[in-house]
């Protein structure tokens, strides 16, 4: 039976938070989420989060953009209407390739950048009018919050967190 209770432990220093995360991980307790007002270096590694694959997606989006640019320049300039424009050699795509490089470069960057950002938004579930999910407004200003689910071990977790320097420990019902 899945518990609906979670413990919210508040910290007011990122160094203390890092030590607390390590202490909780050492007890093999699951950390549901950590809310921080700013990026804390090394937090993802301390929590054991898998590395992001966003860069890999960007690489493939870039290749997509490059392919699109090659297809587009080839279709428009060589296949569809190969005009003589200022003596540029439009006999084949290769003979006029240098002229297409700027657009190839820009489209590669454009696809890689924009599609990666959109991927980030989708994976992070961020969009306009999205309801904010922070459990306590102080976590956007000067407090750090660690959320741990409770499985009939409330007292045990509370005692552990109290030792880690938490400034406030609340047990809340998760809706």
């Amino acid at each position: 039976m899945e518990s609906s209770k979670v413990i919210h432990a508040f910290y007011n220093d990122d160094e203390v938070l890092m030590d607390a995360v390590k202490a909780v991980k050492a007890e093999h307790l699951h950390i549901e989420e950590v809310f921080c007002p700013f990026p804390v270096h090394g937090l993802d590694k301390a929590m054991g989060l898998a590395p992001t694959r966003l860069a890999i997606t960007a690489f493939f989006y870039g290749i997509t953009g490059l392919s699109f640019a090659i297809w587009m320049t080839n279709y428009m300039m060589i296949q569809d209407w190969p005009q003589d424009i200022g003596g540029k050699p439009n006999f084949s795509w290769w003979t006029n390739m240098p002229a297409f490089v700027p657009i190839m470069f820009e489209l590669t960057v454009f696809f890689a950048a924009h599609l990666m950002v959109i991927t980030f938004y989708m994976r992070s579930r961020i969009w306009p009018f999205k309801e904010a999910e922070n459990p306590d407004p102080r976590t956007t200003d000067d407090h750090f919050l660690m959320e741990i689910p409770v499985n009939n071990n409330e007292a045990e977790i509370t005692a552990l967190l109290a030792k880690t320097g938490a400034v406030e420990i609340n047990v809340v019902d998760k809706h």
């Binding site: 890092m18 270096h41 090394g42 054991g48 590395p51 240098p98 002229a99 490089v101």
Partner: protein, 487 residues
Amino acid sequence: MYQFSGKLKTFSLALILVGLVGIAYSFYSAPKTVEEAKEIIAHQAAHGDNHATSHEETKVDAHKNEAHVGDESHNTTEAHHDAVKDAHVVADAHGEHHDDAHAEHVLHQLKNKPWSALYVSLFFFLGITLLVLAFYAIQRVAQAGWSILLFRVMEAITANIVPTSIVMLIVVISAVMHWNHMFPWMAEGTFDPTSPNYDSIIDGKSWWMNVPGWAIRSIIYLAIWNAYRWFIRKNSIKEDTANDNNKTYKLSYNVSVGFIFLFMISESLMSWDWIMGLDPHWFSTLFAWYVLASLLVSALTVIAFVTIYLRSKGALPAVNDSHIHDLAKYMFGFSVFWTYLWFAQFMLIWYADIPEETTYFAMRFNEYNLPFLAMVVMNFVFPVLLLLNSDFKSVPWFVFIGGIVILAGHYIDIFVMVMPGTVGAQWSFGIPEISSLLFFLGVFIYATFNSFAKANPIPKGNPFLGESEHYHYYNIEHRGESSGDHH
């Protein structure tokens, strides 16, 4: 302290010796008379190798250009004629018969071959050493925190500036004394209107392109670089024990600021004098940057190589994977920067197709097609694909493979800068080129490791040393380290 091992010393001396023998042989076997040159031409024709066909291409190209400008203005056509004079002589001769003019032309090119082979390697190694020096000065001026542990490596590499400068001085003197004919504008009668060799275009540049000016400037460049190297090495070792509230360190800083200013000027002028002067009819505004980029990426690769080697020998225990990762990032970034400049120069000339500029690339495309295109793959496509991945950049083995291709690619880059102007279609890659490479490689190894053994491998007096020792790029795992060590 690092010990320059006897094995490595013997190896470098062997390279120098083999190189010297090869260089001597290549000078000895170069043709001395027109008859010998004719024999070589006949030999080439008999073999029916690609020189003949490529000459035809040159001819067609030259003629196409001629037709192109023909109806515009006579002035341009004339200028253009001068610019492609070389190509015409070669092309016409091949189109009709092997006349004496052609044989003489080929003789000059063949005589240039051993000199050019020496010059390509010399410029490659001198330039790399110089750019290591400039990169080192930049690290000091930028007060970089990561690279302090590599300072002694960079200083050791820059020791190579002394022997390469001496060889460069010899080449400069030989050019002035007309012992070599690599620089066409130094030929007799170029500036004399009564001479058959008179060249009005070069004469128009004689305020800059004259032998005394060229020689004096060359010596000034070498003097500036050697003076800074001598000073900064001395002062850097003084920093170790100075304990004078960073006064010595600040002096090094100030002198480095001055050096970067002088370097940027002398590097630009140097690339005009020593490389662009090989094609005196041609000019390009971003050429100095292009040469800089080529040498800079090679210099970073060399720093990475020497660092990886010394670390594997246990001489640099504090250098970690993050330092290697940073060097690899620089190699990657400046490979792209080189490509950007290469393409910017090529594409602008290709796009506008002004004959006096285009001949430069027409020559390279027709006679040096394979090296010209291969270097773009080696200097751009390969490093980009290999060093794009962040994990790969901290693996010495990957950095080594990427670096070998980058160095070979930039050697070819210098080769394609120098050879078309000096030996034209008579280029090849054989004993003269290889032995020059071996010679300068041997000099480089000897100078570098000899110098590294003479100072503390850790610059103890540098205020940023602690930062450098704890340097850690956030997303890479150092070998022998668990994620628990991250902070």
